[in-house]
Amino acid sequence: MTLFVLLACLGGVLVGLSRQLNGRLSVSTTPLIASFWNHAIGFAALTCLGLFVGGLLPAGAAEAPWYAYLGGPLGVVFVAAGSWAIARIGAVNSALLIIGGQMVTGVAFDYISAVPASFWANACGILLIVGGMMVSRGRRKVDRPQ
């Protein structure tokens, strides 16, 4: 169990590390080029892994709806936007806003697709997130040099 807890935390660290490296690459190139290399290197690594462990083309894959394949192109925009943001507002603010955006749209998505959810937990969660984002933005108005 401890191992799984550590692995799950490491997963989050790797998300941050990936954004940091892509951000550094985009400073020297462009966010879109950083996103291209992110996908190219990831694709090469996963191809090697798939050839090694097998199961790269599972049997049921052909039945997936066409729109399920749009996750990749969306990912290009996601990585480019993350690299663009981290170079301008830093790692803490990028993480804070990306997590906030993901949570708020995730709750909205669940309600639209009628996934059972706890209204009060979600409502309180969104209030805390919006409050956090306002605190983060508010400081910049106060500190603005005259």
């Binding site: 935390c9 083309l57 997936a64 399920a68 990749g72 969660g125």
Partner: protein
């Protein structure tokens, strides 16, 4: 108290980062659908492959018109090209822990913790060649509120009618 230009970024950067998070919701949903029909490895492999093709098309459309900026003369270090490796490893870790007693909510919540600790360290020390920005009390309060809200949604809000 030090105030630098980086302290007052344009609001569009914040709106952009927030919208990026929204994009992640749809990406996770679509990749999850693909994993349901195939496997997590197939889903990630396909997403990286189609993403690479989409990036090439976008670069061909956009890049020809762009002149290189003078400040971009500094070459990126070799390790900066390996963000994708870290991303690919994330997929393997999370698809392992989702199928452990932690489940999806445990994986998401602990991943959140890992991301927050890393981002604070990254900004404090300017890790991996990025600008150093000391997170102040307000940053930490904002982060605490967002993480508390996200944890509430992940652990008690989703699928717990």
């Amino acid at each position: 108290m030090t105030i630098d230009a980086g302290r007052n970024p344009h609001p569009i950067y914040f709106a952009g980062a927030f919208a990026t998070g929204g994009l992640l919701t749809f990406m996770v949903h679509l990749n999850g659908e693909l994993a349901r029909y195939g496997s997590p490895l197939f889903s990630s492999w396909t997403a990286h492959g189609t993403g690479m093709v989409a990036a090439i098309i976008l670069l061909l459309l956009v890049h020809r018109r762009r002149k290189p900026k003078p400040e971009q003369g500094l070459r990126a270090p070799l390790w900066a090209y390996f963000g994708g490796l870290s991303g690919a490893a994330t997929v393997m870790l999370t698809s392992t822990t989702v199928n452990s007693p932690l489940g999806l909510s445990g994986t998401l919540a602990l991943g959140l913790a890992g991301q927050v600790v890393f981002s604070v360290a990254a900004d404090s020390w300017g890790l991996f060649g990025m600008q150093k920005r000391h997170p102040d009390t307000r940053d930490m309060v904002a982060l605490g509120l967002v993480v508390a809200g996200a944890a509430l949604i992940i652990l008690f809000g989703r699928g717990a009618a």
